[in-house]
Each structure stands twice: as structure tokens, then as C-alpha cells.
Point group: C2
Chain length 290, copies 2
């Protein structure tokens, strides 16, 4: 069973989930955080559901092997395809698992006045349709538009979040949404970096960023389970990646005020994901001299 002083595991396919990590640091300053970016297999957004599930189970298995008290799936695509499976296993082990979609959905429902919401995200997230399904499950009369904006991720990672290219790309994607929804969910953890370009293309629209909503949901869950550390105890963030530390630290610096440093490369290519299903917890092997 998890104990209070274990870190919260946070995972994403790459650097995008760092926007969620930043919100967790702000909301839960007493918590240790263990972030894993699956940079050997990024991006998840264009992969098939089975592949995303397989990768997500491996990553979750690795974090579990290291010891965590809760798991935050800080990736919309992984939440779309893998959350139910991860939550089922988490329940059996007493580890709460939080995704990024449901908190964003609740915030959007509380925000919209017109009853017309839009969600933008990667191909995988939009094709998965989880946002639309959850929104309309809560409020069947809601009108929902869903739109994939794949180039936004490349722009954010290139450091072109502002300027003429971001403005033009935002206009091409979002122009057709103008005059429609009064609330737009940023359904990809990269998109908060493009917030000003997105807002400029959609003046007057309320943008919902799941990161802060997810941090709030995580805090509530830990409180309910009696697993919260006190804020004044302080917390540390540590970083794991499956490939290319140099790029993770360089691109990650665009996502955090305090850039990620000292990231460690781990190899989760093997059968680690099996441990998430059933076997005893086992730490993944660290890559050595490959």
C-alpha cells in the first residue's frame, strides 16, 4: 500500500505533461513528484489505441516499480486509451490514478453559458472522442465541436509558440470555430504554451486548461485517501526519460519556469508492463552502455 512520503508519479509521452507538473508544483508544494517522459516513443497522438495502451502500461509499470502513492496520466492520448485499464489495476493496488480529461470536462461544463463547447487536441485524442462522450454524458443537450490541430505540438516544441507562424496556424485551424462555442478545452498538454495565439484567433472565448483542473482533482483525491503531505514539508521533482536527455531538458525548459535538470534515462523496453498487470513490483533496468 502507498505511503504519504512516496512521490506522485506523473507521466506523459514527452515534454507536454510538464504543464501539468507545473500546476501540481503550485497546488501541492509539499509533494514529491516523479515525472516520466516516454521520449523514446513520443508522440502518442498519432499512434493506434492498442499501441498507446501498451506503452502506457509499460510506463505505469515502471513508475509503480519505483514506488509512487498516486499516478497522474498527464497526457490526453494516454488518458483516452489507457485510463480505464490503469485505474482498474491501480484500484487493486490502492494507488489512485487521475487522468487529464475528466477535470477539464467538469471545468468546461461549469464555464459554458451558451451550451456550446469545443475541444481541440491531437489526432488520437480527437479520434478517441472521450471529451465529447463525457461532456454529453454529463449534459446531453450540449453542442460539442472537436478539432485536431496536430501542428500545435510541433510549434510548441520548436519554440515558435508566439509570432507570425503561430498566429497563422492558429487562424487556419481555429478560424472556422469563431462565432461558435463560447468555451474551448485545450485538450493537449502542449497547448497552454500557445494560449495567446489561440486566444487571439478566438477572441472572447473562454479557454479551459486541464492542467490546473487536474492538479485540483489530484489534491482532492489525496486528501480523501489521507495521503497528503503538508505544504511546509516541501517537495522535490525528479525526471526520468526513455531517450534523449539533452532534447528533453532543452525543449522542457520552454514548459517550466524552473527548467528540468538531471533527468535520468531509463530503459522500459522490456517486460516491465507485466508488473503493472500482475507480478511483483520491480524497478526497471537502467540503460547501461548501449
Amino acid at each position: 500500500m502507498p505511503t504519504r512520503d512516496l512521490p506522485i508519479g506523473v507521466f506523459d509521452s514527452g515534454v507536454g505533461g510538464l504543464t501539468v507538473l507545473a500546476s501540481l508544483v503550485l497546488r501541492l508544494p509539499g509533494e514529491h513528484l516523479l515525472y516520466l517522459g516516454d521520449t523514446a516513443r513520443v508522440p502518442y497522438g498519432s499512434r493506434s489505441p492498442e499501441t498507446v495502451l501498451r506503452y502506457a502500461e509499460r510506463v505505469a509499470g515502471h513508475l509503480l516499480g519505483r514506488g509512487i502513492k498516486a499516478l497522474v496520466v498527464a497526457c490526453n492520448t494516454a488518458t483516452t486509451w489507457a485510463l480505464p485499464a490503469l485505474q482498474a489495476t491501480g484500484r487493486a493496488r490502492g494507488i489512485p490514478v487521475v487522468g487529464v480529461i475528466e477535470p477539464g470536462v467538469h471545468r468546461a461544463l461549469a464555464t459554458t453559458k451558451s451550451g456550446h463547447v469545443a475541444v481541440i487536441g491531437t489526432e488520437g485524442t480527437i479520434r478517441g472522442g472521450r471529451y465529447t462522450a463525457l461532456l454529453q454524458e454529463q449534459r446531453p443537450d450540449l453542442r460539442v465541436d472537436a478539432l485536431a490541430c496536430p501542428l500545435f505540438v510541433a510549434l510548441a516544441e520548436e519554440g515558435w509558440s508566439e509570432g507570425p507562424v503561430a498566429a497563422l496556424v492558429a487562424e487556419q485551424y481555429l478560424g472556422p470555430l469563431r462565432g461558435g462555442a463560447d468555451t474551448v478545452i485545450l485538450g493537449c498538454t502542449h497547448y497552454p504554451l500557445l494560449r495567446s495565439a489561440i486566444q487571439a484567433a478566438l477572441p472572447g472565448v473562454q479557454l479551459v486548461d486541464s492542467a490546473t483542473a487536474t492538479a485540483e482533482a489530484t489534491a482532492a483525491l489525496l486528501a480523501r485517501e489521507g495521503l497528503l503531505r503538508r505544504a511546509d514539508q516541501g517537495g522535490q521533482a525528479r525526471f526520468l526519460v526513455t531517450d534523449n536527455v539533452e532534447r528533453f531538458e532543452r525543449v522542457g525548459a520552454r514548459f517550466l519556469a524552473d527548467p528540468p535538470r538531471g533527468a535520468e534515462v531509463v530503459d522500459i523496453d522490456d517486460a516491465d508492463h507485466v508488473t503493472w498487470h500482475a507480478g511483483p513490483a520491480r524497478a526497471g533496468t537502467h540503460r547501461s552502455g548501449q
Copy 2:
């Protein structure tokens, strides 16, 4: 040992290598072609050298297990980090291995009049420095500029190869090259799709596309080894992917006049790459009901 009627294996991390496949079809209409897009692990361009080598050896091992008479590494990043290893093993098995970089280098050297060449490509290809090293090995007084243009891949895959966004991105990247090199190598197999936007940003510059040069080099090599089929025998192209057939066929249609169809999903996650090193040739397991 390979026989004449076996297919030529062609591999890339995803759809980009289809520009090379198209050139092979034109130059060698009598050949069977077996294309493998490693779409479960695309893109290679932002991965570390060790990871690219590992992935490339797996893919090569899988193609070898199916039976090929030659291997074309239709990916600049894989050529950068894995070609020497793949060629060494290929030699031991009598399988010629061709990369995309050397043919492009030779064509650029034959094209430049001013002795000033530029190469554009992914982060991995540019960081790897193979183009610059080979160009200056052949001609030490050559001036070479090298520039990573990561957004071009996302633009080509999104189908935004032409229009205002492509023009603006090309201008941002390539504006600084104007008035410099007289010859620019398209050092990424995606870039031929953006040819008109690139040419508009660099008027008067000669663009070198490695795809046709690679097809020419492959033809010469097969002729030397006595492995060519006659053009009038006709040839077939077959497609393998490691993930997401739907996306491969949809995005691949932007790369080929005759869109790729009937692609088969193969699972090369396991120890297939071992066969490329040493063991007996073995076909990879096909994914079933995962």
C-alpha cells in the same frame, strides 16, 4: 545468399521514405519492393543515436527475416546513425545496403558551381553531421551550411505542403540562407513534398533531392551484383507498418501517385534485431488480436 527475384527492402521511420520508393519504382520498374514504415516509433529525427541504431537494427532484422536481396535505408536519420553497422552485417550476408546520404552528397558536388552548399534536415540528421563530413571529405575547400527545419515534417504530414503556412515557415527557416549556397540538399525524405515552398524561399538555388540519386545508386549496385530483374518482368510494392495502418495509408497518399494500400501491421518489438546481428533469419511475429 540473395536471389534475383527477392524484393528490395526499403525502410523508413514512417511515410517519408515513400519519396524514395517512388523513385525506385520509376527507375527499377521490374523490381519487387518491400517497404517497412516503423510507424510505432516514428519520428527518428528527434531520438538519440543509440535509440535510432537499435530501432534500425530491429527493422533491418525483420526485413532480412522475410527475405530481401538488398536494403535501402530510406531515412536520413537512420542512415546517419546506423548505416555503417547495417552495411557491416549486410556484407557478411551478401546483402548490399544503400543509404540516402552518399548519393545526395555526390549529386550536390556535381551540381555546385560556387563551392558553397547547404543541407537542411531533421534535428537528428543535422546534429549527426554526416552530410557536412562527407561533403568536406570529398572536397575540403567546400563551404557547407547545415540547418534543422523540424516543422517541415509536420507540415508535409498535415497536407499543408503548399499555401501560406508552408510559405511563411519556409521563409522563417530559409530566409537567412538567401544569397549564400547555390545548391541545397533536401536532407530529409519528407522535404520533396515542400519543394515549391522551399524553392520560392530560395529563388535561383539548385535543390538536390536524394531520392532519385538513391534510386540510381541502387540500380548500379544491383547491376554490379548481377541481381537486377528485367524491367519488362514488372514488379510489385508491398507495405508493412509497425502501427496505425489507417494513418499510414491516409498520409502516405500524399507521397505517392498510386497510394499505398493493403499495408500489413507487424510487431517488431521483440528480439528480431538479434537476427540481424547473428542468429538464423526468422520472420517477425505478426500482431494478432492485441
